[in-house]
């Protein structure tokens, strides 16, 4: 090793605190870059591994009414395309606890412990062994659905009592909130029970209404569908269109789009922050560089010495950054997956995110080292020897009034180097803005969701167990005479696939003849002509469909062609609104799958809810006035995730602020030593530091708030492409939180200079720094 390099490296060893500060900035920025790219990989890999290990079926067939179990089995058994299959009876019910109703999906299966298709993994308890037992999908334990508990479910007007023998997870119900219809944001409060099939048949009637198939290698879904022709298929769902897969994909796409944006912003913050730190470090060495030049070392040797310093710092920062990156990834993916299901995390061997992180760290440090070295070595030897970093202190003349000198010192110290202070405030402000953007997004999304819920003009929505005839909507089917309510509007609801040429997307089609009475729409393009089709913005984005386009909707074993008249903002999902008549080729026009109910003024919705629940054909009732509560339940986890991001990102603000202030404070060692010789009490020195950092923190959070809206705008744009559209609003709560918590986090960085001044050896500083 050359002596120049050795000397610079020894210098680095001597300034441990500063080295740690620089390394931490590098590691924090690098960790975010790694997290940005790696979390999507981990998320996708973990979910795919779960699907694979638990043998998610390839195709799901649902039937309008039960079909003969033995017959359907005989049709499938001989097919070489089928590796294995299961026939089930699925029915909806209501579970009531403490006057709250929860929708229930009862799935009657022959053997809950099957290991060859859609494996149920026991998380607690055991599988049931008799007709009074059931296993439940986890997540509803706090609502009384737990091992050993008695659960009473109302189904087709009868009460069924079960003992929960076990809690399970299933690839089909990873995201219970995704189950249902996509068109309404219903809370994550779905009870899914697997029970004895024949026990359910005793209540609902013989037969099965769902067939799940695992295709053999090279097996054709079309041939399976053909084998089932003649049955009243209402829905065919391929595994990739299953809500579990769709939501997983949405999560992956969301992460793949959003996290790198976040990573990019952090690259920017990291580069500025690292540059500030390294620039100062090299500048402080200017006299030493001059000495080396005087001794005849050429620029490349000096550059090499400092590049070695950069390499060491990069390695230290990189190792910490890699570890932090994995930890951040684990945290973020765990919280993300917890929103849906408790999956085991698998870390795929994906080197790219780490390579990007290391390349970023290396490039930033090298740039930050090379520029100041080049600036100094460009000068003549004499100039280099005399070169001193600008340490001129800018003094601000402010009216001191009755302020104590130690207070004034704190205030004026903030602006002793205005350029650096402004840069620090901007950089720290950017990190605060990045953190705050999560709160702004969360607040804006909630506000938008609530306003969207207010677009729903119906009071109650009832979904039927089986399709019902529109003309037979009477006291028997609904539990009340439709004439008593303000309006009863039938709708038909189907899931399938929307195609525009080669492009396609999973979609839900809602056929309703009076949809304008049910819902207020906000048009984005075209016009609201429901005699054709109106689609949601999300579907428009996913499949590139616009007003005037013709689309094909495939579902329930058939297909229809529709012309799109307009595109509307829709909170969740890919939806097509059209008339029931347009669905005639897919679904009998005289039948409907549910009704919207608009009550007359003064009518008590609870009375109608009770009547609907007593009906033998109603499987689910949604109360519009409770949608906001449901939304909050649905969003609880998502909000927790955003708050986790907020705090995580603020910890970066802390690191960036701490590294910026420590550099500034280390230059002031003589001042602190002098204060000690004057016998200034420590609390006054601490007060002065706290005042200085407070002003810095205040400046940063003030800059951080508009930054938060700027970043939230960018992230919301990305979100609109992968999840749903929402505009960014002014969110006062978020502003206050950014102001307060952001301030506290940056203020916390004052612990670094306070500790530094405490550890300062006055005698040594005065001897070494002021000796003549």
């Amino acid at each position: 090793m050359k002596n120049t390099t050795r000397s610079v490296l020894r210098k680095l060893m001597g300034m441990k605190l500063r080295t740690i500060a620089i390394s931490l900035v590098i590691s924090a920025a690098m960790a975010l870059v790694i997290t940005g790219y790696y979390s999507a990989e981990v998320f996708q890999y973990s979910v795919e591994k779960y699907f694979e290990d638990n043998l998610m079926p390839d195709v799901f067939y649902e039937f309008a009414s039960p079909i003969n179990d033995t017959e359907v089995r005989s049709r499938l058994s001989g097919l070489s395309d089928v590796k294995t299959y299961d026939t089930r009876l699925v029915a909806g019910g209501i579970y009531t606890r403490e006057r709250e109703d929860y929708p229930v999906v009862l799935i009657g299966v022959d053997d809950p412990a099957r290991k060859d298709i859609s494996v149920l993994s026991l998380e607690d308890g055991d599988f049931y062994t008799d007709s009074r037992g059931a296993v439940a999908i986890g997540g509803m334990e706090s609502f009384g659905v737990d091992v050993g508990r008695e659960v009473s479910v109302s189904i087709v007007g009868r009460q069924l009592n079960f003992t929960i023998t076990g809690i399970v997870s299933s690839p089909e119900y990873m995201f219970p909130s995704a189950y249902g219809d996509y068109s309404l944001p219903i809370g994550n409060s779905l009870v899914v029970l697997y029970m004895n099939k024949s026990a359910l048949q005793d209540v609902v009637g013989d037969g099965v209404n769902q067939v799940v198939v695992l295709l053999s290698s090279g097996g054709s879904m079309d041939r399976v569908t053909e084998a089932l022709s003649g049955y009243p298929i209402t829905k065919i769902t391929r595994s990739e269109d299953h809500p579990s897969a769709v939501f997983m994909e949405m999560g992956v796409v969301k992460m793949k789009n959003m996290m790198p944006v976040m990573g990019f912003i952090f690259i920017l913050i990291g580069i500025i922050s690292i540059f500030m730190t390294m620039y100062r470090l090299v500048q402080n060495d200017s006299r030493y560089i001059g000495v080396m030049m005087a001794m005849g070392y050429d620029r490349s040797a000096i550059n090499l010495a400092y590049i070695s310093l950069g390499v060491v710092i990069t390695i230290i920062g990189g190792i910490i950054g890699t570890v932090l990156g994995i930890l951040f990834t684990q945290g973020i993916v765990s919280v993300s997956l917890e929103m849906y299901s408790n999956l085991k995390l698998y870390f795929p061997p994906a080197p790219v995110p780490f390579l990007i992180g290391w390349a970023f760290a290396f490039a930033s440090v090298m740039l930050s080292v090379s520029i100041p070295v080049a600036l100094i070595t460009r000068k003549s030897v004499r100039e280099a020897l005399e070169y001193r970093p600008t340490t001129r202190v800018h003094s601000t003349r402010i009216s001191s009034g009755k302020m104590l000198p130690s207070t004034l010192m704190g205030i004026r110290n903030t602006m002793r180097n205005p350029a650096r202070t402004v840069l620090t405030i901007i950089v720290v402000g950017m990190t605060v803005g990045m953190a705050g953007s999560w709160l702004v997004m969360s607040g804006s999304a909630i506000e938008y969701m609530f306003s969207s819920v207010e677009n729903e003009k119906w009071d109650l929505r009832a979904d039927f167990l089986y399709p019902q005839s529109v003309t037979a909507l009477n006291e028997t089917t609904l539990g009340f005479d439709p004439g008593q309510a303000g309006d009863v509007i039938p709708f038909t609801h189907m899931a399938g696939q929307a195609f525009k040429g080669e492009e396609s997307s999973g979609a839900v089609i809602v056929g309703c003849d009076n949809i304008k009475k049910v819902k207020t729409f906000h048009l984005r393009e075209g016009k609201l002509d429901f005699s054709r089709a109106v689609i949601s913005f999300r579907l428009s984005q996913d499949a590139g469909i616009h007003a005037g386009d013709t689309i094909v909707f495939k579902g329930g074993g058939g297909e229809i062609k529709l012309t799109v008249s307009g595109v509307v903002d829709e909170l969740v999902g890919s939806i097509i609104y059209t008339s029931r008549g347009n669905l005639a080729e897919l679904f009998p026009q005289e039948m409907c799958t549910g009704v919207y109910i608009i009550l007359n003024e003064g009518q008590n919705e609870n009375v109608y809810v009770d009547k609907l629940l007593d009906s033998k054909v109603v499987s689910k009732v949604v109360v519009q006035s409770k949608l906001k509560d449901d939304l909050m339940t649905l969003l609880d986890d998502a909000i927790s995730l955003l708050y986790t991001f907020f705090i995580l990102t603020l910890s970066i603000s802390f690191v960036v602020a701490a590294s910026a202030v420590i550099i500034s404070f280390m230059e002031r060692d003589v001042e602190f030593a002098t204060l000690d010789t004057l016998g200034i009490p420590r609390p006054r020195i601490i007060k002065s530091i706290i005042i200085e950092i407070s002003i810095l923190a205040l400046g940063s959070v003030i800059v951080g708030i508009p930054m938060a809206y700027l970043f939230a705008g960018i992230l919301a744009k990305v979100m609109s492409e992968v999840l749903f559209y929402f505009p960014i609003h002014l969110v006062m709560g978020a502003n206050i939180l950014i102001l307060l918590i952001g301030f506290l986090f940056i203020q916390a960085s004052s612990i670094v200079p306070i500790r530094y001044t405490r550890s300062l050896d006055t005698e040594t500083v005065l001897r070494e720094r002021t000796a003549g």
Binding site: V393, S395, L404, S406, M409, R412, A673, T674, L766, T770
Partner: protein, 228 residues
């Protein structure tokens, strides 16, 4: 009456693997109101002696008594109080706080004393006037000349009426004219206010301003410059 009494003072530094015994049984008595100067070559321990008397360095053997207080018996907090009330430091490079004006620098050292804001302001103004800087009271250190900065440092050290003033090369950064001016001010204030000064310097020109000059050689003080 002796304000400063030092008995058998030993101080050892460890530099790498080497032990340097810099003060070897030093004794000193300084009467109140006297201005003494300690001279000696670089590394002889002059600054070390000041730091020990000032309570900055506490690692020594022997006894240092200032105004009846044995420094060895003071903990860090009391040493800080001792410096605040009894010691005034003057440094070669002035060590003024750059973000405070001349007046505020002088006020700073009295901030924690039991004085009202008005008393502090009045005392600081009085001492800036004594060093001839009342017109520059609102100037920041970087707006003042080297001599003016040292005069502010003197005002800062004296304003709180300390028992002793410890000056480390107070004119080391000044030209001859400014040196004369600064030393003249220090001598006059010493006479007028009866303050005790201990000055360390290389500069033989300062001898004429002080009451006594001592020479630090081989870790002890001598009254004569040469060894014979």
């Amino acid at each position: 009456m002796a304000v400063v009494e030092i008995e058998d003072l030993h101080k050892t530094y460890i530099t790498g693997s080497e032990k340097v015994h810099v003060l070897k049984g030093l004794n000193l008595k300084v009467e109140q109101g006297r201005m003494i100067m300690v001279m000696g070559p670089s590394g002889s321990g002059k600054t070390t002696l000041l730091n020990l008397i000032g309570g900055i360095d506490t690692d020594y053997s022997g006894k240092i008594t200032v105004d009846g207080t044995d420094l060895k018996k003071l903990d860090a907090k009391r040493l800080s109080l001792y410096r605040r009330e009894k010691v005034g430091f003057i440094f070669q490079f002035y060590n003024l706080i750059p973000t405070l004006t001349a007046l505020e620098n002088v006020e700073l050292c009295m901030e924690a004393l039991k004085m009202t804001k008005e008393e502090i302001r009045s005392r600081a103004t009085e001492f800036l006037d004594l060093v001839g800087l009342s017109e520059k009271a609102n100037g920041f250190p970087q707006e003042l000349s080297a001599g003016e900065q040292q005069r502010v440092a003197i005002a800062r050290a004296l304003a709180k009426h300390p028992t002793i003033i410890l000056a480390d090369e107070p004119t080391g950064n000044l030209d001859e004219d400014r040196e004369k001016n600064v030393m003249g001010i220090m001598r006059n204030l010493s006479r007028e206010l009866g303050m005790t000064f201990i000055i360390v310097s290389h500069n033989p020109r300062l001898k004429k301003f002080v009451d006594q000059t001592l020479y630090l050689r081989h870790g002890v003080l001598h009254e004569k410059e040469s060894e014979e």
